[in-house]
């Protein structure tokens, strides 16, 4: 079935204004009667909840942390893009649109990407008005820097803590609405199912993680803003509790999943240092502005970095991609690193890293300037590794980072379930097959502050005659029963292995076979291995304690149960796409010099997978991508 993304007619630059001019409105008296559930209170969730509450809707907002300020948006370091053209270096909406579309290897929707660029300037205004302390120049005006994959300076930043400051802005706006009693905040609650009545999203089943209570909540629309699921790889840059459960439960209720296999592997993470490690720390990509990436020219070189002479170093990004050099986009930089590491040129005790070297920048700019730009990152590096990066190069390595894939949404950010919306990283939109640096904070904010507050009311205008949702409806009872049954099933296994054991194995399978490079053979193996692993999970899992108390092992097990299903869908998706594009690199489809070979004739579509029941293969629906305003080109950063 071909999917209709409901893109407004007209010229590219008029689509969003046309949509806004014709979107249906709800009068203030009726807004008070309408409830909206927001799941997730990161940047997308908080901003949407606050903005819709400001309009007068009643919001119930849920998050699994003890306060919304902990959501993983907090960890984004480098910045947020906006085409303000404050540097007078030729930036504008079209160029930002083009960079994002090209960065995504022409696998995103033109209209969505254009809207993202169009709303970017407003976001900076909004954040500044909230008090976000962006970096400034001495004249008092806002400062910018450049970021990977573009040639202009359009990145706004707040030292290395841009995500934290933007999140606090949204969190404070949300807290203001909590105080105004427009938002009811439910912290430490995890969503375990979406409830549909007459085919429309009308509520959720959540678990109170402090008491184990299973609760029913009804509303006239449900927004999922639950972030990405890159933690499926176990070792990743994500926070420990990031998960894919909310979107997976929505998928099983009929929402389609878009391009689930597209995961960004970030090039500048710290390498794994030991078997018991649970998390890889990200070093901001901004370091690539001044750091140079290299490996020794000789394989298995065991000398220390500083004792390898200049002539024996291979600055492979500068060599292969002279136009962009160390600022090549993430997918390209990660793949190039993996290529060198796999070929035996990796550095460090286990030869699993490459160098990121600041010696040239330090010599040219002096330590003071480098400290001003990256001081906190150098400190963090030293805390973790015990190494002073002013004296010797950092060691970095690729790590799973961002889910370009997610719930399929139309132009209004509505999933295939009426009344169920997906915002931010939880949806598949905007980034195509590869996300540009500093575009994730942007997308979360634009979805939450500017898009959902227009498109959700457009949907709700059709619901003003709908009665208050009755949580005693049979649909709620069935959903609650299923959730309880699932929890009881997991607790009753009483095997020998904790949830992490299965998660680690799943991560290894996916990283090897559905990570930086994929092949048909490897993917088929991975599917078989994941099925076996899933079977052993249901035989050998152990969870101490009960469901009626704080139980982090149960929380993990519920997430891993979903990961074991998501992982299979990722492999099926990657196997279907017989081309290489962006983060999706199929070994069979590459040029003689190892670059990705895209196949626009056959694969210029979004894969939207539909759940067809337990044990049945998912159904592939295609949203064909039409390029009306730009012609896809070969993505060349040389």
């Amino acid at each position: 079935m071909a999917l209709d993304p409901k893109i407004p007619q007209g010229e590219l630059d008029k689509k969003w204004s046309h949509y806004k001019a014709t979107a249906k409105l709800v009068n203030p008296a009726n807004r008070r009667k309408l409830d909206i559930i927001v799941i997730g209170a990161g940047l997308a969730g908080s901003s949407a909840a606050a903005s819709l509450a400001e309009q007068g809707y009643h919001i119930k907002c849920f998050c699994f942390h003890d306060t919304p300020r902990r959501a993983h948006s907090v960890a984004a370091q480098g910045g947020v893009n906006a085409c303000k053209n404050y540097h007078n270096d030729g930036d504008n909406i079209f160029r930002m649109f083009y960079d994002t579309l090209k960065g995504g290897d022409f696998r995103a929707r033109e209209a969505n990407v254009y809207r993202l660029a169009e709303c970017s300037a407003n976001l900076i205004d909004q954040a500044v008005a909230q008090g976000v302390p962006f970096a400034r120049e001495y004249g008092g005006y806002l400062a910018n820097r450049s970021f990977g994959g573009v040639q202009v300076s359009r990145t706004f930043y707040a030292r290395g803590q841009t995500g934290q400051q933007l999140l606090l802005g949204a969190y404070q706006a949300l807290m203001r609405q909590v105080a105004a009693e427009q938002v009811q905040m439910f912290t430490r609650h995890e969503m375990l199912d979406v409830v549909l009545i007459d085919g429309k999203a009308k509520g959720v089943i959540v678990r109170n993680m402090d008491t184990g209570e299973i609760e029913r909540h009804g509303a006239h629309a449900v927004i999922l803003a639950t972030g990405g699921f890159g933690k499926i790889y176990y070792l990743s840059t994500l926070a420990m509790a990031c998960n894919g459960s909310a979107i997976w439960r929505a998928y099983k209720k009929g929402a389609y999943m878009g391009n689930p296999s597209w995961t960004q592997i970030h090039p500048t993470s710290l390498p794994q240092s030991g078997e018991n490690q649970s998390k890889l720390t990200l070093m901001s990509e901004s370091l690539r502005n001044d750091g140079r990436i290299w490996v020794p020219k000789a394989a298995n070189d065991n000398r220390t970095a500083n004792s390898i002479p200049e002539g024996e170093r291979d600055y492979y990004l500068e060599r292969k991609y002279p136009a962009f050099g160390n600022l090549a986009p993430r997918d390209i930089a990660s793949r190039a690193a993996k290529e060198r590491i796999d070929a035996g040129y990796g550095v460090g005790p286990t030869h699993n890293a490459v160098y990121l070297d600041f010696s040239k920048a330090l010599a040219e700019q002096g330590e003071k300037k480098i400290t001003a730009k990256y001081g906190n990152l150098f400190r963090m590096y030293e805390k973790i590794t015990g190494i002073n990066a002013y004296k010797e190069p950092m060691r970095i390595s690729p790590a799973a980072h961002f889910s370009m894939g997610g719930l399929w949404v139309d132009y209004e950010l509505m999933t295939t379930i009426p009344g169920l919306f997906a915002l931010g990283e939880a949806n598949f939109a905007d980034h195509g097959a590869n996300r540009l640096g500093a575009n994730s904070l942007l997308q979360a904010c634009v979805d939450g502050y500017f898009v959902a507050p227009i498109t959700v009311p457009n949907y709700l205008a059709g619901e003003i005659r709908a009665a208050k949702v009755d949580i005693n409806d049979e649909a709620f009872a069935i959903a609650e029963k299923n959730v309880r049954q699932q929890i009881d099933t997991l607790l009753a296994i009483k095997g020998t292995q904790p949830a992490d054991h299965f998660h680690k194995q799943l991560g290894r399978i996916l990283y090897d076979k559905c990570g930086l490079s994929r092949s048909a053979e490897g993917l088929q193996q991975a599917i078989a291995e994941i099925r076996d692993l899933r079977a052993s999970f249901y035989i050998d899992l152990t969870i101490p304690g009960t469901g009626n108390e704080i139980n982090s092992e149960l929380e993990k097990a519920l997430r891993v149960a979903d990961y074991l299903e998501i992982g299979e869908l990722m492999c099926i998706d990657a196997l279907n796409r017989n081309e290489s594009c962006g983060a999706h690199f199929r070994e069979e489809y590459q040029t003689p010099d190892g670059e990705a070979m895209r196949d626009d004739a056959h694969y210029a579509y979004v894969s939207a997978w539909q759940y067809d029941g337990p044990g049945l293969p998912p159904i592939l629906n295609k949203e064909n991508l039409h390029f009306e305003f730009v012609q896809p080109t070969v993505r060349n950063y040389k």
Binding site: S51, E54, D66, T67, R70, H72, V74, K84, N122, I124, D125, Q126, A127, V128, A129, Q130, G131, P133, F134, R136, E137, Y138, G139, G140, L142, A158, R159, Q161, Q164, L168, Y171, Q172, M175, R176, V178, T187, D210, A239, M240, G274, N276, Q277, S278, K279, L282, M380, K383, I384, G386, F450, P453, T496, Q497, D500, I543, P544, G545, E549, S552, E553
Partner: protein
């Protein structure tokens, strides 16, 4: 290396708690402190015992979720470092390590090392924001802010809300947390218009939530992972007194 742990175990808010002994072998120096606790929990889970509940999430020092008292110090022995950024190279073979929750009457213990810090949200709800609705913002560069002011505001805004300042304070005062937000917003031109109302409400809420008063020991700054300065507390007092005087 081998370490001996004495960990606070408490089933629920109203249950009695106690220190329980554990020992771990094969701990490597590269391991983070929380990796070490994961290792313990893996062992306990396999034995069918309840693992130690502790707060953590981003494990890169920014979410503010983690935080325990380690040998009596908030976040452990290193200066300006969250628990998750602490590594086992800070300990020696054979060390005994006491691990306890952040203690304060305003932070009730939920279980083991997990505490309820929702009182911080209450303080923010009472005024820790700029009243601005989406859509009202003027062009960003219409509000120039001197470089130094922006930097100072950032220093205050960097607070991660971990609660170490409260845990280490003999009065369990939230003065540093509250003052950081008051300073951040009072310094900025767009936050000034409601600074009087903000400081009165936030300080009152801080009292209502049961936090103690500041008696200038400066322990909070010493343990703060973000190096938030106690000078912000002085600014809060200044803003508070100014607001009292100007109050109509």
């Amino acid at each position: 290396m081998q370490v001996f742990l004495k960990i606070w175990r408490q089933a629920g808010p109203s249950d009695a708690g106690k220190l329980v002994d554990y020992s771990l072998d094969n701990i490597s120096e590269e391991m983070s402190f929380l990796d070490m606790l994961d290792t313990l929990n893996d062992m306990l889970t396999r034995k069918g015992e309840m693992p130690v509940e502790f707060d953590h999430d981003c494990r890169e020092g920014i979410c503010g979720q983690c935080g325990v008292m380690i040998n009596g110090r908030a976040h452990g022995p290193l200066k300006n470092t969250t628990t998750c950024q602490l590594h086992m190279r800070s300990f020696k073979n054979g060390d005994t390590i006491y691990i306890e929750p952040f203690r304060a009457s305003s932070f009730p213990i939920k279980r083991d090392l997990k505490v309820d810090r929702s009182a911080f949200d209450k303080i923010i709800q009472s005024g820790g924001f700029i009243t601005e609705r989406t859509g009202q913002a003027p062009e960003a560069n219409d509000i120039p802010i001197p470089f130094e002011t922006a930097e100072e505001a950032f220093d205050a805004a960097a607070c991660i809300g971990c609660g170490a300042c409260v845990a280490v304070c003999k009065n369990s005062s939230a003065a540093l947390f509250t003052a950081a937000k008051i300073t951040h917003l009072a310094l900025l031109p767009q936050g000034k218009y409601e600074s009087q109302k903000r400081v009165l409400n936030m300080v009152n809420t801080m009292d209502e939530q049961g936090f103690g008063h500041c008696s200038n020991t400066e322990a909070c700054e010493a343990e703060c992972p973000q190096q938030i300065s106690v000078l912000h507390i002085a600014r809060m007092n200044y803003e508070f007194n100014k607001a009292l005087v100007l109050k109509k």
